[in-house]
Amino acid sequence: MSYKIAQAPFLRRGERGALMSADVLIAFVPLCVFTSAYYGLRPVFLVLTGLTTAVLAEAFGCLLMKRRPTVSDGSAAVTGAIIGMLVSPLSPYWLPAAGAIFAIVAVKLPMGGSGRNLFNPAAAGIAAISLCFPGFFFNYPDPGLGRPLPLGEIAMSGIPSPASQLASGGQPLYSPVMLLLGDFPGPIGATAVAILLACGLYLFVRRSLSAHITLSFLASCAVIAALFPRASGASAGSVMVELCSGYLLFCGIFMLNDPVTAPRHWLGRIAYGIFAGVLVMLMRFFGRFEEGAAFAVLLVNAFSTTLDHLGWYVLNLKRIKRIRERRHSQ
């Protein structure tokens, strides 16, 4: 009677990669619901456009490249959903679609596909559309509109968001409660700050979010915002306004925690978060657009492997030296 051969260990925790993506998508649902309370169903359809375009692009691309379709691990869906959540509720439907196609076809698939991409595809998609179509991307509606946005063609001009007010030297006059509840113009998924924090907590409990990255990112942003305040004398302090405006918080919770592009060692993660925070604030202060977090994410992705190994190396320096000496003396 012949039995099968396998390698130890024979026990697995039984976690599936697809569940991690499913957790992130579940976290998006309350955000969409909340935004639709302000703007109607249009934001939901924008997110769905992004999601389906990304999934279709990935399936089609894998077929073209004769690779095993990797749609089932859910990463394309998450990419598309993130792009959909970061466009303005006023944006046309082709905007998230273009971003999703760029993200999958130009950044994810050629770099090796799922699990091997060097740069966060969602960040690249957002960077591309905010670079190419800033007029459509940064055009945010007034949340106090009172009626839902029309679902079809739209030709409304928006009001400046807190981030653009800060960038142009103005003073955003929002109270902390308004900031927490999302009562200010901003991207679909990035205004409801209280819900974003709750989503972050949920992801942390489900082990999809690394506290080292997010907390060090937010801490370094807060420190820079406190040291170099752009908003002064408002009822919400500079730190609060800076952290809640634009899509900085969304970036810290969802985009920086992308498992493929983020470091894995805890010290590398802390360095990554700090570096990302510095870059995001620099993009805000000196960049061309009111919010350049996507560019900062791309920049810091380039350093993620280095920071990872540097962190491990620094902590294990003594051990490495000891083993090297032992090998030399043999």
Partner: protein, 212 residues
Amino acid sequence: MTQKQPFSKTVSEIKNVFFDSFLGKNIVLVQAIGITPIIAAGVTLQKGVVLTLCTAAVLLPASLFMSVFGEKLPAWLRAPLYSVGAALILLGAAVLLDRAISHELYASLYVFLPLTAVNTVVSYRAGGFSVSHVPVVAITDAIASSLGFGLVICLVSALREIASFGTLWGNSMDFEIVLPEAALPYAAFLLLGFSAAFLQWVRTRLLERAAK
């Protein structure tokens, strides 16, 4: 280099070198030299053509010169010599462009016209390849490299011009969507990357078919 080889062998070598430098090992897409002018200045088709002509005007004499005299010169003297020679040629080209052809075109190229003198294309092909090959082969390589470079830069500049300004060779093409950001370097890098991948795909296909 000094030994004579049969004529037919030279002809086959010339053919190999030509197709290698032009397509198979295209200097921009495969060997990754001469990328700077494409990224920075290859925004309109006119600029692309001008840069190609300048590169050719500089590369051909330099290759010929290095092939004939290169080995006799000490190593430290070669690069300054052909760079200075190239600069002199470019001086003439610049004057021609400015006075006789188009002042705006010359002004928009600003520093990238004289930069062709010290472009990696010249230093790698003239200083690297041509030094160790027969003059005929060197000339062929210079022509093929210029053609290869020209192919890529014209393609990329044409696409970028259509995308960012909606024109081709200055004539409007009536496109609705205009992406002015395509004039930025990142678009050129993306186009180069995809073109390189496309070239590799074509090569693999041809090799597969040849292997059958």
